[in-house]
Symmetry: C2
Amino acid sequence: MKDAGAGGRDRPGLSREKVLRKALELADRDGIAALSIRALAQGMGTKPMTLYYYVANKDQILDGLVDLVFTEIDTPEAGGEWKEQMRRRAHSAREALRRHPWAVGLLESRKAPGPATLKHHEATLGTLRAAGFTVQQTARAYSLLDSYIYGFALQEAALPIAGHEPMAEVAGPIMERFATGEYPHMVEIATQVVMQPGYDYGNEFAYGLELILSALEPAQ
Amino acid sequence: MKDAGAGGRDRPGLSREKVLRKALELADRDGIAALSIRALAQGMGTKPMTLYYYVANKDQILDGLVDLVFTEIDTPEAGGEWKEQMRRRAHSAREALRRHPWAVGLLESRKAPGPATLKHHEATLGTLRAAGFTVQQTARAYSLLDSYIYGFALQEAALPIAGHEPMAEVAGPIMERFATGEYPHMVEIATQVVMQPGYDYGNEFAYGLELILSALEPAQ
DNA sequence: GGAGTGTTTCGTACAATGTACGAACAGGGT
DNA sequence: ACCCTGTTCGTACATTGTACGAAACACTCC
């Protein structure tokens, strides 16, 4: 027998929910590459094949992870001013993707959107439509905003370990090339921007977002 | 002894170059997941371990692939009008990433930029600086443009097999949900935009790009 | 020729992965 | 007692990257 409903007790049984949540934890801690069925099973105190009762295969776990990440993104509300809604959505999306950098790479290959993902898209589209955007305009605005958000997250994920010891491993192998004077503009950026004391690439996100939001307008 | 220089005969020997080029071919044909050392060796008519004479490990192959892709992107020239340069660069980047969709996901994890990658970045930065952007502005403009380009490519790569049979596999599993009327705005977009006869998502790229380029201006 | 030296190929082996298959166990309903 | 349904897991296999070291080859010098 199932234990009542889909709520979820805590001690005894496993559940699809718990499997996914543990997978999220492991992916965050050790990276998505280290998320193996065996490691996941071990983390849950069970054996590999047990997981297959709750999940059809590993792809389904990855799909589930993506949907979990969408859970953490603010969904626009129907009533609010659209730019403010989009701003909130964008910032929370970026933050979620920074918390789970592996998710960006996953977006590419997943093709089974989960309920949270669908709900999120639906709400966002609704907000734009309600703001007066035509269907066409809505599609374009959405594409533009999401491209920027995902692209920024992608670049942020590609950075060295994000703030830990400003530059060192990355600088090492490249510095030789830099020393040749072959890349003066990259050096310029590196020294005058990136390596500056308080610099945090994440703060640049707002700049591009505001630029885009300023240029977007419904109807015309 | 080595055969004269690093030019590269064609018939007999292998070479790092040829390994990478074959890897590119296989990745394009069968997807990045199918690119195994064994498959690659077979494709070149040799045995797996032979490849390790030319390449230290598989990661180096992936790094090489990313750099190969950058090879296909137009590098801005020093003299030209900057917006036109950025436009060309952006379009050719998007096209390259559409030809090699797997490359988008690779950008995230690679941390050893190849010579083509570095040269490309350097030239782009140079063009912006020459156009009068300050160092700060250059960093921001570059980040904004690349975020949009990569993000768009990411979304394009996430689409179904791009134009082949407009919607079918994707529609199938989701249509049930759609039928419930739970996602009216997604249906709206799907029917009135995406499923329209001549629709090609790729064409939307120009819209966002022009919007961004219009809003970008050096100095102030 | 033969010996020596460097370059290139590859056979074998191992550890790690996803997962198919089917057995084992649990608990309730009859 | 029996079975039914839900859950756990042992074993096994194919596929992956690649370490190790030997073999095959090419070329120079005697």
